[in-house]
């Protein structure tokens, strides 16, 4: 066993964890959108058996960590991880050298419309599109996608959270006033529907675009909008100082807006991050706390052409618990 002289900063950027067990590391695998083909998964299993301790960690953010790797094996593991990187399609700067950065976290997606009856769009596909334009990047940003207002992906804990919406389309000629939409909306959603003269009226202010009325309509009186819409929520976080839920920014946003905002947060960070931050890390929510939401809003809306239905919050207030005051 050769002597260990490791540049820990570079090791971490290369997506290896510094383990509490001296001499050991864990390799981190990105799986944007949470879906990986079975063959690539078997490669990961192979690496864990050959270089790790035979176990695999499923991470909180739908990634994988292979623990128990000898720090001497980092290059060999990177060589074998290449097949996984190729299968997933992760952006890379140099082949065979593993991941070029680790700051930007794996992009999360719930199963969405691929599997789930309530999903309003293909979450994995959009997560992969987002990954393609934000990775690699050293900035610590969490972007999450969830298919509907149930928010099973818990995007309200992320910096940029994307919640699928559909705009219910009503055809009164197909409505028989069975009232299942009204009842399911009341019991499973927000109670935005009521009956007026034997037909259904939707309170557009209340409606969250979850699509429950559509899923339960037995006659196709309610159908989904051709367009997929999104609610974009901003700057939720966990952590020591001020954990808080992300707050609504744009309702009825389109896909282009989602992707542009995801990209724009990085330019804002480059401009305003504290140059003296510990380990060069300052979480974006705390930067916005310093700089102000108005400035942040200006930066993230740069180049965004809002769709005709988009409703943008003029200002946003966050709550949460403050432990640092």
């Amino acid at each position: 066993m050769g002597e260990l002289d490791i540049n820990v900063g570079k090791l971490k950027k290369n997506a290896f964890r510094v383990s509490k067990v001296r001499g050991e590391t864990a390799a981190r695998i990105r799986i944007p959108g949470g879906v990986i083909d079975a063959k690539a998964m078997s490669r990961i299993v192979g690496i864990a058996e050959k270089y790790g301790n035979g176990s695999i960690d499923i991470t909180n953010r739908q990634g994988i960590e292979i623990p128990g790797i000898d720090l001497h094996d980092v290059d060999r593991v990177n060589a074998e991880v290449q097949a996984v990187i190729d299968a997933v399609g992760t952006n890379q700067t140099e082949r065979g050298k593993g991941y070029p950065s680790s700051g930007t976290r794996n992009v999360i997606a719930c199963p969405g419309a691929r599997l789930c009856p309530f999903g309003c769009y293909d979450t994995t596909e959009l997560a992969r599109k987002m990954e393609a334009q934000i990775f690699p990047n050293d900035r610590h940003v969490k972007i999450d996608f969830t298919g509907c207002s149930n928010d099973c992906a818990k995007v309200r804990m992320s910096d940029v959270g994307v919640i699928g919406m559909t705009e219910p389309q009503y055809n009164p000629d197909r409505c028989v006033t069975c009232e299942q939409c009204v009842n399911y909306c009341r019991r499973r959603s927000v109670g935005a529907l009521s009956v007026v003269n034997g037909k259904i009226v939707r309170d557009t202010k209340k409606c969250v675009g979850c699509g429950v009325c559509i899923t339960y309509c037995p006659t196709r009186a309610w159908t989904r909008s051709r367009e997929h819409y999104f609610r974009i929520v901003l700057l939720g976080r966990t952590g020591k100082k001020n954990p808080r839920l992300a707050q609504d920014f744009i309702k009825w946003a389109d896909e282009d807006t989602v992707l542009k905002i995801g990209k724009n947060v990085y330019a804002f960070i480059e401009e305003y991050i504290d140059p003296n931050a510990v380990e060069h890390k300052e979480h974006i929510g705390y930067i916005v706390d310093r700089v102000g939401f108005e400035e942040f809003k200006k930066w993230i809306l740069e180049g965004v052409e809002l769709g005709p239905k988009a409703e943008v919050s003029q200002t946003v207030y966050w709550g949460g618990k403050r432990y640092d005051e």
């Binding site: 299942q180 309509c217 159908t223």
Partner: protein, 341 residues
């Protein structure tokens, strides 16, 4: 007379037919399914041959023209009442054999059940002619052969089979001979395609004893069925409706009477004055529906109501199989178990 047409020739035929008819046919409604980016095949008015879906089974039936899900019957204001307008242009409906057999059931219920026919149904029915879509294969859940609805020999003005990308038509209406001859590639004797067997087979017993009504076989549907009524709304033979008298909100002295489709599976169907319900549980409602389709209707009219299209099984969100219920009921009837129950 029979003809073989290319798709362009069929397009020209439909173009000519549109001069005479409003055409209703199965149409793929992109993105209109329950779930995101799923389609549904439903009946709608079409304006070209390309819109007509000849290969897939429709999720909803043709009956929506004859018995609309929601139809304004008349308007009223103070002392006057006026029936809602209905365009008097003849209507051509494209449908499959099972649905042709369903027409007889609808006519039976609306025109020949009791002393008076239904005026609003009759005025629609008068406008309608049919074009038969041949079936080259049985679809999922079909059991038409068991119900004797797999073949249709008359009642249509022409048929359309899709065979190797060509349209084969048996033209019964002599007035249409020129229209087809002009656009056809050749003449040919055509017998519309039909299936002779399905993967699903049911056998309906000649009779049931009243004990079947109390058999515990219905109980499981009290917990499994959610009472959404989809099975009724897609059924080509279900005819139940309810009335809505609506007074307009701006002026309550003006309003309309609507007839909307109803369902024996949904809450409220058997609710009577005072709030009592004849069939409270979904199990009781399932029993009523199934026995009506395979027994009660036959006792009154001499043939079964169900045509075996299987749309109810296609659409059930809880994966309840109506054809399997028939099999269970038949097994009980034939084993004599019902006498013991």
């Amino acid at each position: 007379m029979g003809y073989v047409l290319g798709s362009d020739g069929f397009g020209r035929v439909v173009g000519r037919l549109l001069e005479t008819y409003r055409i209703y046919a199965p149409v793929v409604k992109t993105g209109a399914g329950r779930f995101t980016d799923t389609d549904v095949v439903m009946y709608d008015e079409v304006h070209s041959a390309e819109e007509i879906e000849l290969l897939k089974k429709s999720d909803y039936s043709f009956k929506e023209f004859l018995t609309p899900l929601s139809e304004t019957l008349f308007f009223y204001t103070e002392e006057q009442v006026k029936e809602a307008d209905l365009p008097d242009k003849p209507v051509l409906i494209f449908l499959r054999s099972c649905d042709m057999h369903a027409v007889r059931r609808l006519d039976q219920m609306y025109l020949a059940n009791g002393s008076a026919g239904d005026w609003f149904y009759a005025r629609r029915r008068k406008l309608v002619k049919f074009a038969l879509i041949g079936c080259s294969q049985s679809f999922d859940n079909c059991f038409c052969a068991s119900m004797g609805s797999n073949e249709t020999k008359d009642g249509y003005i022409f048929s359309v089979d899709v065979r190797d990308g060509k349209i084969w038509s048996d033209v019964k209406d002599e007035a249409l001979a020129t229209v087809f001859a002009e656009s056809a590639e050749r003449e040919e004797t055509v017998v519309p395609l039909h299936v002779t067997e399905n993967k699903i087979r049911v056998r309906i017993p000649d009779t049931f004893t009243p004990d079947i009504l109390k058999n515990p076989m219905w109980d499981e549907y009290t917990t499994r069925c959610i009472g959404c009524g989809r099975c009724n709304f897609v059924c080509p033979t279900c005819t139940c409706w309810t009335m809505q008298d609506v007074s307009y909100t701006d002026n309550g002295r003006v309003g309309e009477r609507r007839r909307v489709a109803s369902s024996c599976m949904v809450d409220g169907f058997t609710t009577v004055a005072g709030g009592a319900q004849y069939r409270k549980t979904q199990g009781e409602r399932m029993r009523f529906k199934v026995m009506h389709k395979i027994y009660d209707f036959r006792r009154r009219f001499g043939y079964d109501m169900c045509v075996g299209c299987g749309r109810c099984d296609d659409v059930c969100p809880e994966y309840i199989s109506y054809s399997n219920i028939i099999k269970k009921a038949a097994a009980i009837a034939e084993s004599g178990e019902e006498e013991k129950a």
